[in-house]
Amino acid sequence: MRHNTDVIIIGAGPVGLFAVFELGLLNLQCHLVDNLDKIGGQCSELYPDKPIYDIPSRPKVTGQELTEGLMQQAKPFNPIFHLGQQAEKIEKKNGNFWDLTTSHGTKITAKCIVIAAGAGSFVPRKPPIENIDKFENKNVFFSIKDKSKFKDKKILIAGGGDSALDWTNELSSIAKVTLMHRRKEFRAAPESVSKMQKLEKEKKINFLLGQIVSISETIGEVLEVGYKNENIVSTVKTDFLLPFYGLKMELGPIANWSLNLNENRISVDTEKFETSVPSIFAIGDINYYPGKLKLILSGFHEATLMAQKCFSYCYPDKKNIFRYTTTSKDLHKKLGV
């Protein structure tokens, strides 16, 4: 799929969503790309139910409520979301345009790119086990796209969260599943846990108590997985290993976009929040400048100033007259009020 827009925002967290609003007020249309399959970034992935106390005028707001409010605010500007895919590659085209390609092959062309990627994209946490990379996507999978390859195979699932339990339950009907976890309690939803326990009782799945410590290959692409419980190491053989230890955040492909970095964050100026590459901006937790504080409210301010500069890239011949949403009839029209 190919799309054209004014601004591509990488990251659909609170700061990316507020950028849609500020850019929208200036008539700039946005497409957003996020590796999560939902909007809200850390607010919805890490702490949907935890209250935040330092958003101006919201004495107490949860991550989820904040996301919903921002989405409502952005709605009049019809942002287009490309979720569950990572911004992979950018290329300068015809001098003034950027071509962005996502991990799903979606192509978006825009005048400006705004990186609002927080601490980076959410990717699966991989156990720190020697050699695990060697087996990845061969007989070790951190996410499942096509379950048919597991049919009638021996599967070892590790972890105690929703993904581990859901896949244990789901794959139990087509494969020989063993679930491994460090304790008998699980953080997954209670209904998935009771379903799994029922399957175990009926001997439709197997449960092992322990934590993975090693992986090696034996004859015929069968894996031998070492695991430890109470200091005793045992091994189990399996065709596939599926470790589910939640998600972590990493900068990912952005690190290779030739932007000036300060450790793992993107250096910007404090007037326009532009990176070392003109027409690429970075706002929110991902950027760095002297005095930077990683706060959502700082990201809102950064989004507002960034939008002014985006306007001049998208409409080089137009004057941007500063107006207030309280008084401008034109802005009211855009907001649908």
Partner: protein
Amino acid sequence: MGTIIVKDRQGDSHKLIAEPGYKIMEIIRDAGLEIEAACGGCCACATCHVYVSENWLNKLNKKEDEEESMLDQAFEVSDLSRLSCQIEFEEKLNGIELTLAPE
């Protein structure tokens, strides 16, 4: 004011100044040691995982269910495992010894 002793992943020990009322994670992060603490300390990830020296374990408050549950996302969890964002430094922990868990 007190101190905590933190062994990093290279095996080097660091003596850090610790002020009561701050979380152990915050003290380690502020000193610039390699601790990710991705969620910022709200017990929503497991990237501030540390091992507490055995002789200090009984001086700590017991783990809440939330912390135990979050440790499911950590690796190489042992009886000494804690999430350092859930331990507040106080006088009785002066001199506590901790080791950063592998990432």
